[in-house]
Amino acid sequence: MAVGELSNYVTLSAVLFFLGVAGVILRRNPLVMLMGVELMLNASNLALVAFSRAWGSMVGHIFAFLVITVAAAEAAIGLAIIVVVFHRSARVDVDDVTILKG
């Protein structure tokens, strides 16, 4: 690992993270939004692994593993909700679901 390479990894994860965010904000399809969330989670995983590699301690990996399980659980629940909400409607569009507004 070259000097300063870690900052590259950090930058990369930041970019990926913001792409994830863009995905969540811009797309109206809940599935793509979930994928955006997955992207964000993976970005953080990347940073974790990079730092763990830099510090030379395995704890980063454990935590990344934890993040993966969380991502899995989140995806499962998210998809279940999407199925329940949209399985009857004609189109799958997040903007239709505004029942909970103030």
Binding site: V21, V24, V94, K101
Partner: protein, 645 residues
């Protein structure tokens, strides 16, 4: 702590009895009134009789001169080191006590007859007893605090009695007006008390009069003037007299006792009692003298314009008290008190006589509907005639001596203008009194046929019940004058020597003697009577009396019918502005400022709520955007902080 609630050690049981008996009577009648009805009247009268007897018995106590002061001193209760209540019976308060209980007793007897058959007669006698108690509290107190307490209670008693027939809205309004003006008087006295207590630290007469020298002229004047405000309210002096004519709403015995004999003279008593204060401030004396004279004149003039027999007597009372205040004000204390003594009897007699007439005519009070009663009611004629002669000051009657004493005293104390006003008033008094006499008694009867001494509307009390008191009153109306004959050595002067002895001011050297001034006054009075005779009592005038009276009614000048617009002035200056301020406060301050303010706060809160509610758009992506912005802000913050450190 509660044990020494009201610890009174009785040095003078008779004095205490005189003072407390009427109160006991009042309380008894109040509590058992509805049940005992007519018997209540007899009970009230006997209580008053007992009080009169105990007053007579305590005369020796009053005259006993001991260790430097005259009279009986009976301490009651002390509020604070400087403020204590107590009773004092000395010649001055003895005279008033005797008049109050004596005339009071006669009027009680008269009331049994006058109010027989009235359902609430027991309540009436309770009020009368309470009034006598209140007046005794005022007169017997040995300090200004007790005086103030008596002052208020007397005001309350007059409120009760004026508003006795409280179904009548006019009586209700009159009683309220009398009480409020009386409270205005109380306020004046309270202010004087504060000044005295602040300066001298004590309120007892002895303490105050001993240290009069310590008071600066300005504070002395202030005290005198504020005390005089109290007198003006109570004794119906010019600015604050508007309640007296309305007070005629009450039953006639009430007018006789309160608005003729006793209550309205409280002002005279106050000035006589505080003569050391008045001696020490000449300009206060001048002011009071002038107000007294003006009141006398105004009262007499207004007396001309009245058609209601009781209102004529009310204005004549106001005028006569103007005389007394003028006399006592300028410093002729003995003359003023003498006139009070005489006036108490002949004015009570006049009112009771008028009561007999009103009672006989079935509560008719307008003299235009009376007339020709001489033949039908000889006793009433006798009563009214003797009273009128006394009030005009014709020789053998008491009025002659007391009025001339005042007028000469005024002259002696160097007030020629007041003397002139006094004489003019005497003439006008003679005119309107005889005007009443002629209109009521001379000429054809303008009353309904079935009228007479004994007929009257069905009332079961024997006629003598009402006539005996009047007859008894005629005796002092004639006799009192003789007490004052003999200048310095007259029994009257010697009786008041211990009180007013020390206060003889330098007397102006006068051109004419007292006899000549009496002659002047008598001639002026006779002139007045003559004019009244020509206007009202000539055979030709008597024939077309009704039309002439009618014409006189229309031509009555506005000033007289509206009593110089004093009433409207007082109302406009004080009552309406206060009410307007109240309405202003209610409308603007209360509704707009206070409630408005709170209302605005609530509206603001609701608007804020709506504002933030709009943030909840319901779009998932909008929330995600806000979240992202938050994260970005955090990141930016740490970046900036990091960079700058």
């Amino acid at each position: 702590m509660l044990h020494h609630a009201v610890g009174i050690s009785a040095h003078y049981p008779l004095l205490l009895a005189t003072w407390l008996l009427p109160l006991a009577g009042a309380l008894l009648l109040w509590s058992t009134g509805p049940r005992i009805q007519a018997k209540g009247a007899v009970l009230g009268t006997t209580v008053l009789g007992a009080a009169f007897v105990t007053a007579l018995l305590s005369i020796p106590d009053a005259l006993r001169a001991a260790d430097g002061y005259v009279g009986a001193q009976q301490p009651l209760v002390t509020w604070l080191p400087g403020m204590s209540l107590g009773l004092l019976l000395d010649p001055l308060s003895l005279l008033w006590t005797l008049v109050i209980t004596g005339v009071g007793f006669l009027i009680h007897v008269y009331s049994i007859g006058y109010l027989a058959g009235d359902r609430a007669i027991a309540r009436f006698f309770a009020y009368l007893n309470f009034f006598v108690f209140a007046m005794l509290t005022l007169v017997l107190s040995d300090n200004f605090l007790g005086l103030l307490v008596g002052w208020g209670l007397v005001g309350l008693a007059s409120y009760f009695l004026i508003g006795f027939w409280f179904e009548k809205p006019s009586a209700v309004a009159a009683s309220r007006k009398a009480f409020v003006i009386n409270v205005a008087g109380d306020v004046g006295i309270m202010l004087a008390i504060f000044i005295l207590f602040a300066q001298l630290g004590t309120l007892s007469y002895g303490g105050v009069f001993a240290h009069v020298a310590q008071l600066s002229p300005s504070t002395l004047l202030a005290v005198c003037l504020f005390l005089f405000v109290g007198c003006a309210a109570k004794s119906a002096q010019v600015p604050l007299h508007t309640w007296l004519p309305d007070a005629m709403e009450g039953p006639t015995p009430v007018s006789a006792l309160i608005h003729a004999a006793t209550m309205v003279t409280a002002g005279v008593y106050l000035i006589a009692r505080c003569h050391p204060l008045w001696d020490a401030s000449p300009d206060a004396r001048a002011f009071v003298g002038v107000v007294g004279a003006i009141t006398a004149l105004v009262g007499a003039i207004l007396g001309l314009g009245q058609w209601d027999i009781k209102r004529i007597l009310a204005y004549s009372t106001m005028s006569q008290i103007g005389y007394m205040i003028m006399g006592v004000g300028v410093g002729a204390y003995q003359a003023g008190v003498l006139h009070f003594f005489a006036h108490a009897f002949f004015k009570a007699q006049l009112f009771l006589g008028a009561g007999i007439i009103i009672h006989a005519l079935g509560d008719e009070q307008d003299i235009r509907r009376m007339g020709g009663l001489a033949r039908k009611m000889p006793f009433a004629l006798l009563a009214m005639l003797t009273g009128t002669l006394a009030i005009c000051g014709i020789f053998p009657f008491s009025g002659f001596f007391s009025k001339d004493a005042i007028l000469y005293g005024v002259l002696e104390h160097g007030h020629p203008y007041l003397y002139f006003i006094g004489v003019l008033t005497a003439a006008i008094t003679a005119y309107y009194m005889f005007r009443m006499l002629f209109v009521v008694f001379a000429g054809q009867a303008r009353t309904p046929a079935s009228v007479g001494e004994h007929a009257g509307h069905a009332h079961h009390a024997p006629a003598w019940l009402m006539q005996l008191p009047v007859a008894l009153l005629i005796v002092p109306t004639i006799g009192i004058g003789w007490l004052a004959i003999g200048g310095e050595q007259s029994p009257w002067a010697r009786f008041f020597e211990p009180i007013f002895g020390a206060s003889l001011q330098p007397l102006a050297r006068l051109g004419m003697s007292e006899a000549t001034s009496s002659l002047v006054v008598t001639s002026v009075v006779l002139l007045g009577i003559a004019t009244a005779f020509f206007v009202y009592a000539t055979p030709q005038a008597l024939r077309n009396a009704p039309e002439r009276l009618q014409r006189e009614g229309q031509r009555m000048p506005g000033m007289l019918t509206h009593a110089f617009y004093f009433d409207d002035a007082l109302d406009g200056l004080f009552v309406q502005p206060t009410r307007a301020l109240g309405r202003f406060c209610a409308a603007t301050v209360e509704r707009d400022v206070l409630d408005g303010g709170v209302h605005d706060i609530t509206v603001g809160a609701r608007w804020l709520g709506h504002f933030f509610r709009s943030f909840q758009t319901g779009f998932v992506r909008a929330y995600a955007l806000v979240l992202a912005l938050g994260v970005a802000a955090f990141a930016a913050y740490y970046v900036l902080v990091g960079v700058t450190r």
